[in-house]
């Protein structure tokens, strides 16, 4: 019995070796793909580069047109949102309220059966200015039984927005720093990157946007350039991870702008979640390819691709299903999930084209962890 098992294992090993040899020689469709990929993987990088340029251009255009990078909702731009949900089906507020409340926007939300279930009134005014007018139009008082009220003062909302942007910046750079510290080789450079990132954090927390705009912009750029320079020079894999997360964010933001989605604080946090998901697959790929033993780069990439795609697809499936169930509540979870779905889909491209090409390039040149 024991003897038979050993023989079996031997046969399997031989089979595997044969497989690997055909894998290298290139005769089957799989191998044709391999040789095609080996020839063109650098050219493939053009796709994400073009998309990144398009995305940045569109975001720039959006900024030029609206004065902001995103379409902020009331919680980030200041104002009042009143959501009515009792007997809203027969109300025609548009006619009664237009002209009485400046910059009033009225949205109708339907339930699963298509019946109007909520009316959302959005205005930049304060609640004490608008509730009496709305109550008069409705003929009843607004209470916590028949409505929700959300108000954010404009100073506060501006602050919220700035702080969230800073939080995303810090998260992005510190995430990259961790990858660098784990993946880079030399201790001195690791410590330098650590100190630089801590200083960058302090700068963002204490000084950025509180001092002169241009000076803070120059310091910001100086930090970014020196950090990116260190990563490119001392650890291409860390740079690739960072680039991939950056591409995910920029492309997702461009699509969010294209769809003109209104974003609340939670929506910005979704970008943070996106960084997390994006980095996971990148680290998987990098580790697999750069710590490989006795296998080819393509083989490791393909293995990582199978694992990574399972990861991303499960995430997309879970989030998609959850979104479908809770969509009609109209909560902030909707925008978080939509942003994640867009981002995760783009991450497939960015991990398996952008990051993979860079890592392959690096590995073919003999790069290791």
């Amino acid at each position: 019995m024991r003897h038979r098992r050993i023989v079996l294992t031997k046969i399997m090993e031989e089979k595997k070796q044969n497989n690997e040899q055909t894998f290298e020689r290139g005769t089957t469709t799989k191998d044709k793909f391999n040789s095609f990929y080996n020839q063109h993987y650098k050219t493939l990088l053009l796709i994400p580069i073009i998309l990144i340029i398009l995305s940045i251009s569109f975001i720039g255009y959006f900024y030029f047109k609206t004065g902001d990078f995103i379409n902020r909702d009331i919680s980030l731009s200041g104002g009042t949102t009143i959501t009515l949900f009792s007997d809203v089906s027969e109300l025609d507020l548009q006619n009664t309220l237009t002209g009485k409340i400046p910059d009033l926007e009225i949205k109708y939300v339907s339930d699963d059966g298509g019946k109007p279930s909520q009316i959302i009134l959005i205005t930049s005014q304060k609640p004490e200015e608008v509730t009496p007018i709305i109550e008069e139009a409705l003929g009843y008082k607004l209470t916590d039984k028949n409505s929700n009220l959300e108000f954010t003062g404009s100073n506060l909302s501006d602050n919220f927005y700035k702080q969230l942007v800073i939080a995303i910046l810090i998260a992005f750079f510190w995430m990259a720093a961790v990858v660098f510290i784990i993946f880079a080789q030399k201790w001195k450079i690791k410590i330098l990157a650590l100190v630089l990132n801590l200083l960058f954090g302090i700068f963002l927390g204490k000084m950025f946007l509180t001092m002169n705009f241009f000076i803070s912009l120059i310091i910001l750029l100086a930090f970014i350039i020196s950090i990116v320079f260190i990563y490119v020079k001392y650890s291409i894999p860390s740079f690739a991870v960072m680039l991939c997360a950056f591409a995910d964010i920029v492309m997702t933001l461009a699509i969010v702008d294209l769809l003109n989605l209104q974003i609340a604080g939670a929506g910005i946090v979704a970008f943070l979640m996106l960084i997390g998901y994006s980095v996971d697959t990148d680290i998987l790929l990098t580790t697999r390819v750069l710590t490989r033993k006795n296998t080819s780069v393509n083989r490791e990439i393909f293995g990582a691709f199978k694992t990574g795609m399972t990861m991303t697809l499960t995430a997309i499936a879970a989030i998609g299903v959850a979104l479908a169930v809770i969509y009609h509540f109209g909560t902030v979870l909707n925008q978080m999930f939509i942003i994640l779905l867009i981002g995760l889909s783009l991450d497939i491209l960015n991990t398996w084209v952008t990051n993979t090409s860079l890592i392959k390039w690096f590995a073919e040149k003999g790069g290791k962890l």
Partner: protein
């Protein structure tokens, strides 16, 4: 399968979490209603009834839920006094109670778990308050909080949380969160400075607060609705009256000031000046001062006011509310600063229950979708089950820790949980796939998988820390005054539990499956 040390650790944490969530004995097996509020000035309080206790019987009738409880209290609809025996788990109270008891005791159904949901799910109000044109110091903010706390308590609000918050830019806020239904005039109650002054001419006789007014009548003979009258323009209005007691110094001031007054020329029964009552610098009422009071040290003063409505019931309600507000500012005194509400959210409790249910359904469907993909990919029941069990245990541990630290699960927290369980599944897929790679030794492969997972964990960890406010010392406070902290907190709990507890256990399970 052999239960290794790491799997034992996982089992231990799941057990502790389940206990934290459901309690021992499990809360859903408990019968009765839980007390949410007992008026401190009531007989019920004197006899030992406290918030959080469980009432399971009234007058020999078993109380299972809030409907049973309300049925027993229907006897008070005749506004008469009745004898009641209230049973809690450890003792019982028997006494004759007036219909006031309905305002002195509030209860709710016993929650099936110890998990607390946030305001944006179960409904409630949240206000962010700042001082106008002033940055408050830490101790000033503490004073403000204690006054607000007292004001809201007087209004019968107990299920609330008032805390300090600061943000990235160093602004300090008072955050008030009130669960469930909130008073209609919450805005007024928290943002009104409530500066109450009794003045004769330009001289202040007394102002609100304990120094000048040690006692305010709130019920009984000395406080209540005086009478109701038809309004000329339609509707009705009602007047109220309640007594206050002045401190000796304030009464002496009253004597000194009135001593210098002459009799009124038009109406010699009264003094030449009136006692003007100001609330937040606007004249609320002017009281004639009887000539007998001239130069007298008097400590008893009656305060009057009114309320209006389209019919009598509404007018009485309004008058009662106005009386309560006035009593509140007289008792607590004025806020030290002019306040401004910079953010106010009132979320209806109506949607909450349905939403909680649907989030659970969403979670279940999400996990189902994941299982389908996992099964298609691996085609092994055992492996797929292990992965699902691990994901569920991650969820249970997050909820358990949240229940243990009494974290309110709001929408951002739920997003965090979803994110964590999602990355959890990802990590398990990494472990699974690494272990199936036959080119290296199993031990080495698992080690590599744990390295990948640890790197992901470390990156997620540093990217979340700025949201928690833990980096205050380098100027990175919690963004958005900590309103998105929930996301960071649940995610941090989840990924830490994942990397320390569930994923190592999962790796052990997979190792055994592979060795088989």
């Amino acid at each position: 399968m052999k239960i290794t040390f790491r799997i034992w650790i996982l089992i231990f944490f799941i057990t502790v979490s389940l206990i934290a969530i459901f309690g021992v004995p499990p809360l859903f097996m408990e019968k009765g209603v839980s007390i949410t509020f007992v008026d401190k000035n009531s007989t019920l309080f004197e006899k030992g009834l406290r918030q959080g206790m469980i009432i399971n019987g009234i007058n020999d009738v078993q109380i299972n839920n809030i409907n049973d409880f309300e049925k027993q209290f229907e006897i008070f609809s005749d506004n008469q006094s009745h004898k009641l025996t209230i049973k809690t788990k450890s003792f019982e109270i028997t006494d004759v109670f007036s219909s006031d008891i309905e305002n002195q005791l509030l209860v709710e159904n016993i929650a099936p778990t110890r998990i607390k949901t946030g305001l944006d799910i179960r409904g409630g109000s949240r206000a962010l308050v700042v001082a106008q044109n002033k940055t408050l110091s830490d101790s000033e903010l503490s004073d403000l909080i204690s006054i607000s706390q007292e004001r809201l308590n007087l209004f019968g609000l107990t299920d609330m949380n008032i805390r300090k918050a600061s943000d990235l830019s160093g602004n300090r806020f008072m955050v008030i969160e009130i669960a469930g239904s909130s008073p209609a005039d919450l805005e007024e109650l928290i943002s009104k400075q409530g500066k109450f002054e009794g003045k004769i001419g330009n001289l202040t006789v007394f102002s609100g607060g304990k120094n000048d007014i040690p006692h305010v009548e709130r019920s009984g003979q000395m406080a209540g609705i005086d009478g109701c009258y038809a309004n000329q323009g339609g509707g009705e209005y009602c007047t109220f009256r309640f007594g206050i007691t002045l401190s000796e110094e304030a009464a002496q001031r009253h004597a000194d000031i009135t001593g210098n007054l002459s009799l009124s020329a038009e109406n010699p029964e009264y003094l030449s000046e009136k006692l003007d009552l100001y609330l937040d610098d606007s004249l609320m009422d002017s009281l004639f001062i009887s000539k007998d009071l001239k130069g007298r040290v008097t400590t008893q003063i009656s305060i009057q006011g009114s309320g209006a409505g389209k019919d009598r019931t509404e007018a009485i309600k309004d008058a009662n509310l106005n009386m309560k507000k006035l009593q509140t500012v007289l008792i607590t005194g004025s806020m030290p600063y002019k306040l401004e509400i910079v953010k106010l959210d009132t979320i209806s409790p109506v949607l909450g229950q349905q939403f909680s249910k649907d989030v659970l359904i969403a979670g279940l469907f999400g996990i189902l979708a994941v299982s389908v993909i996992i099964f298609i990919r691996y085609r092994k029941i055992k492996v797929s089950l292990a992965l699902l069990v691990t994901s569920f245990s991650e969820l249970i541990i997050i909820l358990g820790i949240a229940a243990l630290i009494k974290w309110n699960l709001d929408l951002p927290s739920i997003a965090g949980i979803i994110a964590t369980v999602g990355t959890g599944v990802d990590s398990q897929i990494v472990i699974l796939d690494e272990s199936r790679f036959k080119t290296e030794s199993l031990k080495l492969r698992i080690k590599k998988a744990l390295f990948i997972i640890f790197t992901s964990f470390a990156t997620a960890f540093v990217s979340l820390v700025p949201l928690t406010g833990a980096l205050g010392m380098i100027g990175i406070g919690a963004a958005g005054a900590g309103l998105l902290k929930g996301f960071a907190v649940t995610t941090l709990i989840g990924i830490s539990a994942g990397v320390l507890i569930t994923r190592p256990a999962f790796a052990d399970m997979i190792k055994q499956f592979e060795e088989e």
